[in-house]
């Protein structure tokens, strides 16, 4: 019975009744109901992108205030306490609320499209992770207007963040907000891992998966193992602050260094979590504009995986100055040097791809090519900080600030903006403005280097991080002035980009299906894609399905117009993990309010914990668990469909 129904294979012509039926099956309800209940990965992906970009702008404004304060010596635009809250909020916003969520946005939107699936493995969990993300973001920002925002830097060292030296709610907000945000990150990671293992189009065996998915896959595995460390650290700190435990309480044999270990065991893998998917965006987009496949698919994939693995064993390089024995430090110095080998692999792969290709200088390509040099500068300054004796000088100076901005802006923001340009036709159905795009790139590129390169020099001249002002006789006046000017120029570039996005959404030319002549599956769907992504699940016969005619050696032929029909309710195809052989028809859940309801209750629980409201906490836990049961409640409709 079920098998007979399952075997239907065929093709669906655009505009046919079958296509309309698919639309009905997959479309979200119109209006606000659909908006709150949708589980469409494309809507969720775009929401992630918008929300994360909003946080980028918030963090950017904080940065500009910081730069104004530091433009000249002895300024007092903000008070020292305001300054502390500004740099803390700037750091945590950019690192936690922008850098990963924006990449989750890309992956959410693109994964099912590049993998040839109709949705993520757990669409409701996907909605849940977005709602938790935005609630956690609101939670972390809630105390900022009251002047009680987190104020101990994003790495929040104890004992300064402990109950004795930091009595306000500031750090409790940070601690609980991070645990809450961790839920979102973990939910997202679970979804990506299972989607990768389970939802690839038939024929898309491991060596054929689009290169960008390796980055997000590695990052998701990284999250699964790293996020618990930071959630635990913040939870223990919260216990210390609220229930008199002694984990970090020096007077009772707690250890200040335990925090540093737990934080950086998370923190360093996290650095790779927020750059590997962005490098994947480049590896995916760059070859399109070079008109040839990426050179060295396997080495690049390997370098992604190896970087993530090595990333778990370098955390102590943030702790070189803690007085640990030299021998202990030397292990981590060596490991931190080694981690640049996979980066070298990726760099040479990109350059070789350009060298052997025929570059087409469209806006996304400018960002990807510009990224390469920023990647190298950020990488080699990392090699300098990996050298233990040298890091004992560089540590906690502006050299490190320069390094981390080259890494995070160079390797995250540039690929992200390039990626938005690259997939803009898919996102919006419109083409961006080449003129505005080029302008945005050049202003951003020049502003970025003008703003952040001098920070290296400020660092070599001994300027420490996190000082709210400095006297005029330290030799830092000029570099700081230049940095401030550059950062405003960079901000202007971002503004031009935002203008371009809004202009093009309304006024851009209609985008064709595959405007860049790209090789991967998302470019077979209309721009923007329909709610069901693929009318039939395509069969993938090679690594570059859309370029099979023009490569000297394509391993096989893909079939894109004909495949599994799968239209008995929301269905997509499950395939085996290694060889992607068809394995099962997966019944996908309907849209639901439960993810939103569950995330409201869970977020309310954290508010209750912050306020020490016991009854509210118990109520929210009970309601949250109930909504989870409701969410997972088996659907008899499935069996009826199967039996039909």
């Amino acid at each position: 019975m079920a098998e007979a129904q399952a075997a239907q294979i065929g093709s669906i012509v655009p505009g046919s009744p079958e296509e309309k039926r698919l639309h009905e099956i997959w479309e979200a309800e119109p209006g606000w109901r659909g908006w709150l209940s949708t589980t469409d990965h494309k809507s969720i992906g775009l929401r992630y992108l918008f929300t994360a970009f909003f946080f980028l702008i918030a963090g950017g404004i904080e940065a500009l205030i910081i730069r104004l304060q530091l433009a000249r010596p002895n300024l007092s635009l903000v008070t020292p306490e305001q300054y502390a809250q500004l740099f803390t909020m700037h750091g945590l916003t950019m690192i936690f609320l922008y850098a990963l969520p924006i990449l989750s946005g890309f992956s959410n939107y693109l994964w099912p499209l590049v993998l040839g699936s109709r949705d993520m493995a757990f669409p409701r969990l996907n909605a849940f992770s977005y709602w938790i993300f935005i609630f956690a973001g609101a939670f972390l920002y809630a105390s900022f207007p009251l002047g009680q925002a987190p104020n101990d830097g994003w790495f929040n060292y104890v004992p300064f963040s402990g109950p004795v030296y930091n009595v306000g709610p500031n750090i409790d907000v940070y601690a609980l907000g991070m645990v809450l945000l961790g839920l979102s990150t973990t939910a997202g990671a679970v979804n990506f891992v299972v989607t990768f293992l389970r939802l690839r189009a038939p024929g898309m065996s491991i060596p054929r998966v689009p290169i960008m998915t390796w980055g997000t896959l590695a990052a998701s595995f990284g999250n699964l193992f790293a996020v618990p460390a930071v959630s635990l650290a913040f939870f223990l700190l919260w216990l210390d602050r609220n229930f008199g435990t002694h984990f970090f309480d020096i007077a009772h044999d707690g250890k200040a260094l335990l925090w540093q270990h737990l934080f950086w065991i998370f923190g360093h893998p996290w650095v790779y979590v927020i750059v590997l998917p962005a490098m994947g965006i480049v590896s995916m987009g760059l070859p399109t504009f070079c008109r040839r496949p990426l050179v060295g698919y396997m080495p690049v994939a390997l370098s992604t995986v190896a970087t993530m693995l090595l990333g778990f064993e370098v955390w102590v390089h943030h702790m070189f100055a803690t007085g640990l024995p030299s021998l202990s430090l030397s292990f981590f110095g060596a490991a931190s040097m080694i981690i640049s080998i996979p980066s070298a692999v990726a760099t040479f792969a990109w350059i070789a791809t350009i060298w052997l290709g025929r570059p087409v200088f469209k806006v996304p390509f400018l960002f990807f090519a510009g990224f390469i040099i920023l990647f190298v500068i950020g990488g080699v300054s990392g090699v300098m900080t990996a050298a233990v004796p040298l890091d004992l000088q560089l540590n906690d100076t502006y050299f490190v600030v320069a390094h981390l901005h080259y890494v995070l802006l160079g390797i995250n923001v540039f690929p992200v903006v390039g990626g938005i340009y690259y997939w803009f036709p898919k996102f919006s159905g419109r083409m961006n403005s080449e003129k505005l795009g080029r302008l945005a790139f050049w202003i951003m590129f020049i502003g970025f280097n003008l703003g952040f390169f001098p920070m290296h020099i400020a660092g070599l001249l001994g300027m420490p991080r996190r000082i709210y002002t400095y006297p005029p006789n330290m030799g830092w006046d000029t570099v700081n002035m230049v940095t401030t000017a550059g950062s405003f120029l960079f901000a202007l570039g971002v503004l031009v980009f935002v203008i371009d996005v809004f202009y093009s959404i309304y006024k851009g030319a209609k985008a064709p299906i595959n405007p860049w002549d790209a090789p991967s599956l998302e470019w077979t769907t209309p721009s923007p894609p329909p709610p069901y992504n693929f009318a039939v699940i395509p069969f993938v016969g090679s690594r570059y399905p859309l370029w099979e005619g023009r490569l000297a050696e394509a391993e096989g032929r893909s079939r894109l117009d004909e495949g599994y029909l799968l239209m008995n309710g929301r269905e997509t195809l499950g395939t085996t993990a290694m060889h992607a052989e068809p394995d099962a028809i997966l019944k996908m859940p309907a849209d639901s309010y439960f993810p939103l309801v569950a995330s409201i209750f869970i977020s309310a629980l954290f508010v209750a914990l912050l306020l020490h409201a016991l009854i509210m906490a118990i109520t929210t836990v009970a309601l949250g668990l109930l909504s989870l049961v409701g969410w997972l409640w088996p659907r008899p409709v499935l069996r009826m469909e199967a039996a039909a």
């Binding site: 008070t79 020292p80 306490e81 502390a84 830097g153 300064f160 030296y165 707690g254 200040a256 260094l257 496949p293 050179v295 060295g296 080495p299 100055a321 803690t322 007085g323 030299s326 430090l329 030397s330 110095g333 060596a334 040097m337 640049s340 080998i341 070298a344 692999v345 040479f348 792969a349 350059i351 070789a352 350009i354 060298w355 052997l356 570059p359 040099i373 190298v376 090699v383 300098m384 990996a386 050298a387 004796p389 040298l390 004992l392 000088q393 540590n395 906690d396 070599l460 001994g462 300027m463 420490p464 991080r465 996190r466 000082i467 400095y470 006789n473 330290m474 030799g475 830092w476 050696e553």
Partner: protein, 312 residues
Amino acid sequence: MLAMNAPLDYFLHADGSASKPVLTLDWVFASIVVAVCIIVGVLLVMALFRQRAPETVLPREDDGLSWIVVGTTLSVFALLGMTVYMLATLEQISKPSRAPALTINVTARQWWWQVEYGADDPAKRFSTANEIHIPTGEPILIVLNSTDVIHTFWVPRLAGKTQAIPGLTNRQWIEADQPGIYWGQCTEYCGVQHAHMAFKVVAETPQDFDAWREAQAKPAALAEGGGRSVFMSQCSGCHAIRGTTAAGAYGPDLTHLQSRQLIAAGLMTNTQDHLSDWISRPQELKSGARMPNFDLPAGDKAALLSYLQTLR
């Protein structure tokens, strides 16, 4: 030149055997990484703009693997060399070549540095603040503690950083080849006044150092007068003056206040006007500092200031 008057610079100056090998390492590494950036940049520009033959052959995916093989192999060898060099330097600076001549206990506090010189004879022990005097040409052991939060001890021209962590006793050695003043600064965020937590290392010839130490070990000269009683009633809860009953331990020991060049952990030079300002409104000059504003009657304040002038 701009770099010449940057007192915390460590890229152009290294003035002791704990920092000199690192300066060399710094330049070697910096040269290599700048070279790498230039090479990659040139390759990138060439790749972007080189002349290309008209399109005749279909691209093959595996063309260009030699780029990765050659590039990565070269990088691996460069990294091997750099790592071994780095490790050798680490071993070199991990400890001085001979036993330390002197041990100084430095306790980091929000937001100043307490500096203690031990001695077998209790009468010779003394405590000072924000100014570490050392003899030249000798390795000096700094024993680091913190009474509150994590701070970092850093005298860039003499040595790298070491955190002062409450509950732990870290060590750092410094050595100055020539007499001079070397600036230091806390570099771990430690609260609102992290920016104003500077100190100085004053390196002197052994003779000068001995003379200084001798003078510091003496109790304060006993000046009588109104100023002293103002001090005892207003200041002695936090500050100590050896030879008097003032034994407060929260703030710097003021026994030889006038021998110091700076006050308030490097915030201001030690002049009569600055002291007066500091006593009246520390919360405006260094908001959050542990010292409250003292609104003293004009007469009391003048007396107190003239008393402080006697603390030489």
